[in-house]
Symmetry: C2
Subunit: 213 residues, 2 copies
Amino acid sequence: MPKTATAPKPATGPGRPRDAEVDRKALQAAIELYAELGWAKFTLDAVARRAGIGKAAIYRRWPARDRLVADAMKAALLPPEAVIDTGTLREDLRALARSTMDHYLGPYGLAGLRLHVEARAHPGLFAELAGGIRHTRALQARAIVRHAIARGELGEQASPALILDTLLGGLLTHVLATPEEPRPEMTARSSRHVEDITAFVLTAAIAIYPPAG
Amino acid sequence: MPKTATAPKPATGPGRPRDAEVDRKALQAAIELYAELGWAKFTLDAVARRAGIGKAAIYRRWPARDRLVADAMKAALLPPEAVIDTGTLREDLRALARSTMDHYLGPYGLAGLRLHVEARAHPGLFAELAGGIRHTRALQARAIVRHAIARGELGEQASPALILDTLLGGLLTHVLATPEEPRPEMTARSSRHVEDITAFVLTAAIAIYPPAG
């Protein structure tokens, strides 16, 4: 049968399977509750209440809470594997900073922060997921630096670690260090901050890893 | 009565008041449990069990769990107010990076990370404490940059925010991004990493905020 004839049913709208809607509600409630409560207090019953669906539906699909929280985090937190490749180091770093800032300020930023904190408290539980997120980010980072070396913007010895740690960590610290009250203001000013931190890190990267010649 | 005759009893050793020992055990158990479980699951009963002391003693001293967790975090997490002032910007940044790394790798690093994550989920509860930690850090940061400007190492327009966000955030990201397995190795290599990130941030700071003339 030709591919066009077997297109999957749309994920939304009438006619979608009942299970997909239950799954969507459960995953959404799970990531919200995890962000608010953390792992220790996370229960399948609370997810059922928040999602407004029956406990039986949740337990049938996810017999244990660790599978549900893992699925919810995979759906919400795994960064897209798309490689950032704009053609210049400055624009690549800016695009990465922008998407990272959007994530921290968005609905799943708090869940992502919790995951990395709780991966230290419960390594057996969250190590695989945290490792997957780290791996995807590391691939993005290495690609950006490798392309910059190939274009002659950075020297051969440039290491992605310091460039990415200071850029992404600087954004994280900025978000964490801003008290709740002025957060709407911070969101509005975030474009300016993305520009400033990108320029700061780019300057250091070029000075520390100068291109040959 | 002269001051020497009224010296307080030592905090350890025989003869110390019973209450001080109970307090010490309770605060220690509280910070450990908070680091492991987070706020949602934190209970006074669990603290009593972990500390090996009676519930009544805990409840008499801290009728509500929010007071106990606040006292425990104040004792463990509030950074010393001592100003870092070594005489050069490089050494000041290195000393700040070293003490920050030691905190993250130490017994209370996880509790501190949780606090800043949960201050977003429960601003009413943790805002004052997180604000106090932020305020002390901001004072340290501003003093380091102000001294560097006065010595002519940075230009008048130098802002502490980007310098400190990238230095401290870069360390945080490095610690969070390291999987559990090689953590002992990371601890051993942390001196090297403190040097590298200090040099990276210092280079950017001087290039972005050059001294006049």
